[in-house]
């Protein structure tokens, strides 16, 4: 028994990951504005009728009352701020939400304030529920997240020598962290991704704009392919062993939207 009463705190959070713990408890990985990624236990959360259970599902934006712990905090109360329901009922949107949440988790540090990452994830999950352009959102999110956390790819000048880039086709090197000029291209044996002038323009536009400004951007299919490869290679160079949820995203990416299964979600 500890003699002093545990310290209590309240926080907003997004549930990034969970696993079962004991008989009916849940272990949560939470993204919070003030403490970054923290881990907490939710007692009884897997029991039906639990006051916590329904609120703390994956990708829920919640308000929590917590008991401070040394490694694990304890959730004592949970209220939903936004469950992003429209995202949950569409497997394509949902797979992208999980991908964004994993990215946020993998670039975050435990117990370090991350208000910008938190805001970015909450806003992006909100847009994900309604946008017609979910792929652009994921690309914009990845760019913004990497920028906030100090892994901004260089699209302005050559990542190697710093020279200004001619308005022309270039190549991207994940290893060197950006576009490289024709002179630096031949040095080194790193994997280079093609980046056409059109691709570079879109990347620069994505990097400096807010999502609403790019949400209806019409990106050509060749540019889309190049941007996807560039961002994936850059992300994988930042995140050890790759992003686990990308396999699921790729599998369901082109599935047509299917309506909810009859039996509970809809009355009609």
């Amino acid at each position: 028994m500890v003699s002093s009463r545990p310290r209590l705190f309240t926080t907003e959070a997004v549930v990034l990951r969970h696993s079962d713990l004991g008989e009916a408890d849940r272990l949560l990985w939470l993204l919070t504005p003030q403490r970054g990624v923290i881990r907490a236990t939710a007692r009884g959360a897997r029991k039906p009728g639990s006051k916590l259970g329904g609120h703390i599902d994956l990708l829920c934006h919640v308000k929590l009352s917590m008991r401070e712990g040394r490694e694990l905090h304890g959730v004592s109360q949970a209220d939903t701020v936004d469950a992003f329901r429209a995202m949950r009922t569409d497997i394509g949107r949902l797979s992208r939400g999980l991908y964004m949440a994993e990215l946020a988790q993998r670039v975050s540090v435990e117990d370090a304030p991350a208000p910008a990452v938190f805001r970015l994830l909450v806003n992006s999950l909100g847009w994900l529920a309604t946008t017609e352009n979910a792929d652009t959102l994921v690309r914009w999110f990845a760019l913004r997240l990497l920028t906030i956390t100090g892994f901004k790819p260089e699209f302005g000048a050559c990542a190697e020598c710093g020279d200004e880039l001619e308005p022309a086709d270039h190549v991207f090197s994940a290893e060197r962290g950006g576009l490289v000029c024709p002179r630096c291209r031949s040095q080194g044996s790193d994997v280079l991704q093609p980046a056409s002038l059109g691709t570079i323009k879109v990347l620069r536009h994505l990097a400096r704009s807010d999502f609403p400004a790019v949400s209806s951007l019409n990106i050509g299919s060749e540019e889309r392919r190049q941007i996807e490869r560039i961002l994936r290679s850059h992300t994988n160079s930042v995140i050890d062993r790759g992003v686990r949820s990308s396999a699921f995203l790729d599998e369901v990416r082109d599935w047509p939207e299917v309506g909810p299964v009859p039996g509970g979600m809809r009355a009609d």
Partner: protein, 213 residues
């Protein structure tokens, strides 16, 4: 979590503590408590326990049809002639079968997926018993598939995934009603549960069909 919590324990003791510690839901403290309890246990009792563990490993197999755990090559539910063979209820875990059987409200067959799609943990559809389910749907005379995955994001993802795979086969796909659990206070219900309960509301004027949940 770590074995250095028992630096002074004799090697066999430390080994048992560590073995317990690897079980789900057993922390270092409980692992120690269980170990010291067993040290004081009569030999016959300890042998019976060890034998029970071994026989579970030796005798329990997965039913070749529904993949529930069983002692026979085909489980008692699948061999029972009185079960309705036109319906399969898909669940995540063997324990879910027990829960549904306890209701005595279902007389169809089951299919156990052994998990749910969990991209963040690297668990995809290919790690679940989905191929086996599709094989059954092709071979058998199933007309209705009831999706009874857990009412959380991963369970929903699994259900949506299955629905997408199965709807081209022309089989009716339904799922358990989502709603308020009995005994729960409305004021504590989360947004999703309440919204689902509202959307899945049923008419109460007719008495023949009691509302679920």
């Amino acid at each position: 979590m770590n074995s250095n919590s028992t630096p002074s324990a004799a090697p066999p003791v430390a080994r048992l503590i560590e073995a317990f510690n690897r079980l789900p839901g057993v922390g270092p403290k409980s692992a120690q408590r269980l170990t010291y309890y067993m040290i004081r246990m009569p030999r016959e009792e300890a042998e019976a326990l060890a034998e029970a563990v071994i026989s579970v490993k030796d005798r329990i197999v997965l039913c070749s049809k529904c993949l529930n755990i069983t002692e026979e090559p085909v489980c008692p539910v699948c061999t029972n002639e009185r079960r309705d063979r036109t319906r399969i209820c898909v669940v995540e875990e063997p324990l879910d079968v027990l829960a549904i059987e306890r209701t005595r409200a279902y007389d169809g067959l089951y299919h156990v997926l052994h998990g749910s799609i969990s991209p963040v943990n690297g668990i995809g559809a290919e790690q679940l018993k989905i191929r086996e389910l599709l094989d059954r749907l092709r071979d058998e005379t199933v007309t209705e598939l009831i999706l009874a995955t857990n009412p959380n994001l991963e369970g929903e993802a699994t259900s949506m995934y299955l629905q997408r795979l199965i709807s081209p086969l022309g089989i009716k796909v339904t799922r358990l009603a989502r709603g308020l659990s009995s005994g729960a206070d409305l004021e504590y219900a989360d947004e999703m549960t309440l919204a689902n309960a509202l959307e899945g509301r049923s008419e109460i004027a007719r008495n023949d069909e009691p509302a679920a949940g």
